[in-house]
Amino acid sequence: MTKVQLKGVRKDFGAFTAISQIDLDINSGELVALLGPSGCGKTTTLRMIAGLEVPTYGHILFDDDDVSEVPVQDRQVGMVFQRYALFPHMTVEKNVMFGLKVRGTPKAEIEERLEEILDVVQLQQFRHRFPAQLSGGQMQRVAIARTLITKPSVLMMDEPLANLDTKLRGEMRRFIRELQQRLGITTIFVTHDQIEAMELADRVAVIFDGKLAQYDAPDALYQRPNSVEIADFMGANNIFAAQISASGLATAAFGTLQLDRDIVTVREGAGRILLRSEAIDLLLEEPDGENVIEGTVEGREFFGATVNYTVTCGGEIITVNEQSRRLVEVGQKVWLRIEPRHIWAIRDDA
């Protein structure tokens, strides 16, 4: 419904620069996750979009219109605060109705929308309680309901699922996704959980130290990170120094691997290669063909559905993740094989 753009936005708090430079285009109806470590400026970015904070430099545009002069009340945004910010002196019901009441919505409509949203967030039985009488997860759902009931055209959520248990979190994720798609609300979602970001978002904006480090679809971010830091943050565990040749060969301590030159734009020089642990085959007999590394199983971590092996190969340790349909013993000699298209390379000067 609303396209949101940040153009060269910077935010200083006194001498401290919270956001040094962010350019971000969020399409109408898109769900974007802001992902980054604590203190990188995610909340500050949301607050600027909401109008609670004025950018030191740069512009924020809604549907190509600069909203600098539009007061918070008129931006038609919704925000779920990291610490909920519920009204402590109002019951769940009153909290949820607040946004409609202050906007003068007819009483019958308020009632109707209230019932609907309370059902959705499963808070019917707590409707007469006060925030102080709720658990963290219940408060979070009140905060979500209070925002959603106003049908904002841009919805911002600051870690809205952080306090929920796994099952409820799954339900809320599906609920948010479904509602977001049904209503086409442009949604910006803050999280520091990369799994959650990838599951929910159309695109993920990774922010490091007040800078936009990468803005891409989840699979691109996961498979083709721009930098080692992003790869690391996205949970990659096989990052190795390698010498890359013009013909697309990467030579690391454990051997030489062929890269896929359609995927990696090969440039000669020192760099890092990234092997996705789930894309590596663990073989008990030496196979034919290229991209095979010989090693010994050093350790095994069993997670139930999957199992992680740490394999020493020529002085480096490679982690392999596979479905636990079999278990390989520690100390076993193994061969690792990885297809060229599953290898990603980052040059050191990138």
Partner: protein, 302 residues
């Protein structure tokens, strides 16, 4: 459930003993100095004063004489008028100042010291300042004459010593606004800005935010600070004595006049006045508190 063993029980008993021991000095002071004095005052106002050779206890004639005279009710009205008007003005100004102080503005640190200044200056100094500034022949009248707003300082409108009590109210407000500000500012800091921000995003106007979100949350601060300043205002003596408009006086001044009378039997009449002040103040403050407690319970706090 297993019973706690006996050493546990003994330890609990010892702890309770300790608690009472620690409380005893306070309780003693309270009951002897305050409670004893209160009982004596009530007894004296009911005619028990053998040291003056008067003992007609129980004798309601002092209260009868007091409450039966029209001037008592005039004095009461005046007392309540000064107390209520100055409390309300100090409250409104205090809220505004406190709200301003949680926002950023230049020179905030300097301002944070400045506004507390009246708190540290005694009432009497404030009264003297009022005389110097607001009196006929005071600074403001002279300045007005100097700038030609009025022909002569004596033409300056009477501010002090009238029954409008602008001087009294000015001194109370001057002294008590910082106190209200301080109290509400502390509460506001605890409340934080987030609920206001959430309300503004939800579409509430500044007015709606103040009345529906901020005010209910700072109510404890409002109630406790107004309770204290109102209780003070209703019993204060110096300001209405010096800056008031003469007869009819406020009740504390009336009491003082009785106590100071050459006829010492009038002391009992004075006691009756003091007890009346205490009675009225407690009724008002108690109803105020009860009203507030009811509100608190209604919104689910207890």
């Amino acid at each position: 459930m297993t019973q706690p063993n006996t050493t546990e029980l003994a330890r609990h008993r010892r702890e309770r003993m300790m608690m009472w021991l620690q409380l005893t000095p306070v309780l003693l002071v309270l009951s002897v100095l305050f409670g004893g004095a209160l009982i004596l005052a009530v007894m004296q106002s009911l005619g028990f004063a053998p040291w003056f050779g008067v003992n007609t206890f129980p004798d309601f004639s002092y209260f009868g004489a007091l409450w039966g005279s029209w001037s008592f009710w005039q004095s009461l009205g005046l007392t309540l008028y000064y107390a209520i008007v100055s409390t309300v003005i100090a409250l409104v100004m205090g809220i505004f100042l406190a709200l301003a102080m949680v926002r950023m503005f230049p020179c905030k640190t300097l301002y944070k010291y400045l506004y507390k200044l009246p708190l540290m200056i005694p009432y009497t100094v404030g009264i003297a300042l009022a005389v110097i500034m607001l009196g006929n022949g005071g600074m403001i009248s002279r300045l007005s004459a100097f700038f030609g707003f009025i022909g002569d300082p004596s033409e300056f409108p009477q501010i002090l010593k009238t029954h409008y009590g602008w001087g009294v109210i000015a001194v109370y407000v001057w002294k008590q606004t910082p106190f209200v500000t301080l109290t509400i500012y502390a509460v506001l800091l605890g409340v934080g800005r987030e609920t206001e921000e959430a309300a503004s995003i939800l579409g509430a106007s500044k007015r709606q935010i103040f009345f529906q979100v901020t005010m209910p949350q700072i109510l404890p601060g409002i109630v406790s600070s107004t309770l204290i300043i109102f209780a003070f205002n209703i019993g204060a003596f110096e300001a209405p004595f010096i800056l008031g408009g003469g007869f009819p006086d406020t009740l504390p001044v009336v009491a003082w006049r009785y106590f100071n009378d050459a006829d010492y039997t009038l002391q009992l009449q004075g006691m009756a006045t003091v007890v009346s002040i205490a009675l009225i103040a407690s009724i008002i403050l108690y109803s105020y508190l009860a009203f507030y407690r009811r509100y608190e319970r209604r919104i689910g706090r207890n």
